[in-house]
Symmetry: C2
Subunit: 407 residues, 2 copies
């Protein structure tokens, strides 16, 4: 497997387009479309929030019931959440506009929205946007990148990645883009992620591969602990690589899962590292756990702790807050067995041994914590299980962004 | 029942003292002592964090095993958490110093600490502080107030309250003080609360009254979602009111519980309203729930939502974030039945009806949300149960305080 340039248009047969529809933002693109030359198998995972946005409801129906999908229409600026029956009708009207212009069935059009909750979509602009994008669909890398930029809200950088791997003499390509910066605590978050591949794979295995992989990727990140109403990951496979269809959990499936995990982990970390207002990606590893579940609970508790996040912003090795967050996580462990390390490009430092502070250099700790990517590793010495979660620091800008968001 | 001036020294026989022991802070008092002329029944509730501070471990032993308690020694600046066996030995040495000076058993001395995690107490200063406070013990209101000030850390205001009620011809007095501003998410938080009363009541009923009441008071507040290692509520009853001892759940017990609830709710709200960096007390009421548990889960999810808290700071009626936080809480409800109101001293406004926004005035909503105490009420129309939780807004100052705390 090797990483290549590009995103959603990297795989064979996938095209993208984007346009400035004027939904909320001025002077920038705010709609994107992904289209496959041939029908795709589609898998999807969606928010577990009881308050589900209309496009989540629409896509669940399509992914679960429709034999194929061929296009995705995305808008930024308005989330189409808490919009009642009117909002759901607008999903259908968006899909209809795309289906008409592309001459494909309505049931093969997925939709996704991100932005403010509770506002209705301006359907005249949405429809005009769809009509403007169809003739502009293009398989170039630039076109995929423009789409990744068009779906950004408070994101400060575009997020895309692509890989290639070989299976049965055929080269399979997989690429993805996502957006997400605030209201990020995916259980299955307002993150949207779109992954495209030209692999041939059965719908059942496509869905299973996605469902399993999000547990270690998107579901292991948090910016603010708020699980969105709109979280959506869509995975489209169009089979154009010409490989023999993957129908069993063989070596080809393993290679597919490995590529999917790479794509999803890179995209998930890009979201955590671009959390609203953040200055650092904060990685937390739990090792020596009895069970994976215990390791997941502990690592997620630390990345969501406001006090720990503020300490990371301050480059302060305030390890007590990390131990405290582990302690209230609900997972059982022995605090007096815990070793804790801080690590970054500037070095690695052991801070706690068996629950008690070592006489480390605060200066060195601060130097390590001043890097843009920092890791805390806690060894709880109970077993062999591990988990890694990704978050970010809590900053003045997070507060600024979210106190001002709607105005 | 009537509210009176004062705090921990309001009830008969209770005295307090405080001193500048120089533990962490300069130019201010940082130790306090509460003392009862006669031995007390003691009840206590403590943090559920697996990482328990040494004083929590000490007090649990005393409350559960000792026939009585007579003094409490409190320090601010160092939490004595994650300090291993050395930290626990320092609790005993503190209790021994107080017991010696007061000529009471070591097993009747409770201790409490709040401040930075992971540092050892400077025992020479602690012991000198205890020795300085004993001769200064005094039953005046001023003495109680000075103690309430001495235990503050990032708190910006002292927190005390007292009431009187009649039972069987006798006047019973109950008063309390607390501190808490950050790392506040009591499940049984670094909140410390001390309530004293001259009521005569059995130890079993004292503990039961406290255990039940914290569920509706301290455990319903959150500043930052971080459940501390040190949370402690101590309730001391010395019987000096001369009432017939309360041994059954009769009218007297009800009157006692009502007074206790008043004291605890006032102190809990004072902590939420003085959350680190906060500009507003944020109250969330859930009404029309099927069960109390459901109402508690929903209300706590909203007060801990970073996005909702930031919106309150911005005086922004961003109701979508409230519905979103209810949706990911884990409690089941129908989003399309929810009515939502904002209310404050500036008026009351219905924002959502049956899950969809009404065409309310954003200007009026902002006016309502600009008060120092604001309430959001969600009616989920499923039943009769209700719950109220208290939090605060998320501000630049919260980040500033917690990025800088140790330095």
């Amino acid at each position: 497997m090797k990483q290549i340039d590009g995103g959603v248009t990297a795989a064979k047969g996938f095209k993208a387009a984007s346009t400035a529809a004027g939904i909320k933002y001025k002077d920038r693109k705010d709609m994107a479309m992904i289209y496959s030359e041939v029908p795709c198998k589609a898998a999807g995972t969606f928010t577990t929030n009881i308050v589900k946005a209309a496009p989540v409801k629409w896509d669940k129906v399509i992914v679960e019931n429709s034999p194929c999908a061929q296009a995705v229409v995305v808008n930024a600026g308005i989330a189409n959440a808490c919009t009642g029956e009117e909002g759901l009708r607008y999903c259908m009207e968006t899909a209809e506009a795309a289906a008409d212009s592309l001459s494909i069935p309505v049931s093969s059009v997925l939709v996704a929205s991100t932005g403010v909750i509770g506002k209705q979509l301006p359907m005249d602009r949405i429809v005009a946007g769809v009509k403007a994008m169809v003739p502009a669909l293009d398989g170039s890398e630039e076109s995929g990148t423009a789409a990744a930029i068009a779906i950004m809200t408070t994101d400060t950088v575009k997020k895309e990645v692509a890989v290639q791997f070989e299976t049965g003499g055929k080269t399979i390509t997989m690429g993805g883009m996502c957006k997400g910066s605030g209201m990020i605590h995916p259980d299955m978050c307002t993150m949207l992620s779109f992954v495209t591949t030209d692999a041939a794979i059965s719908k059942e295995l496509l869905q299973e591969a996605l469902r399993e992989d999000i547990k270690d990727t998107y579901n292991m990140i948090s910016v603010d602990g708020d699980t969105s109403t709109n979280d959506t990951v869509l995975l489209l496979a169009n089979g154009m690589a010409g490989n023999e269809e993957i129908r069993t959990k063989n070596e080809d499936y393993e290679a597919f899962c490995m590529a999917l995990n790479f794509i999803n982990e890179v995209l998930a970390k890009k979201m955590a590292g671009d959390g609203e207002g953040c200055t650092a990606l904060f990685e937390v590893k739990i090792v020596g756990a009895e069970t994976k579940e215990q390791a997941v609970t502990l690592s997620k508790s630390v990345i969501t702790s406001s006090l720990t996040k503020a300490a990371i912003f301050g480059h302060d090795a305030n390890w007590g807050r990390i131990l405290c967050a582990m302690g209230y996580s609900g997972a059982v462990f022995d605090p007096e067995k815990v070793d804790l390390y801080f690590e970054s490009a500037a070095g690695k430092l052991k801070i706690i041994e068996n629950g008690v502070a070592l006489s480390y250099s605060e200066e060195e700790a601060t130097r390590i914590l001043s890097e843009p990517e920092v890791t805390a590793t806690a060894d709880i010495k109970l077993g062999e299980a591990t988990a890694t979660a990704w978050g970010c620091d809590l900053t003045f800008d997070y507060v600024k962004i979210n106190a001002d968001y709607r105005s």
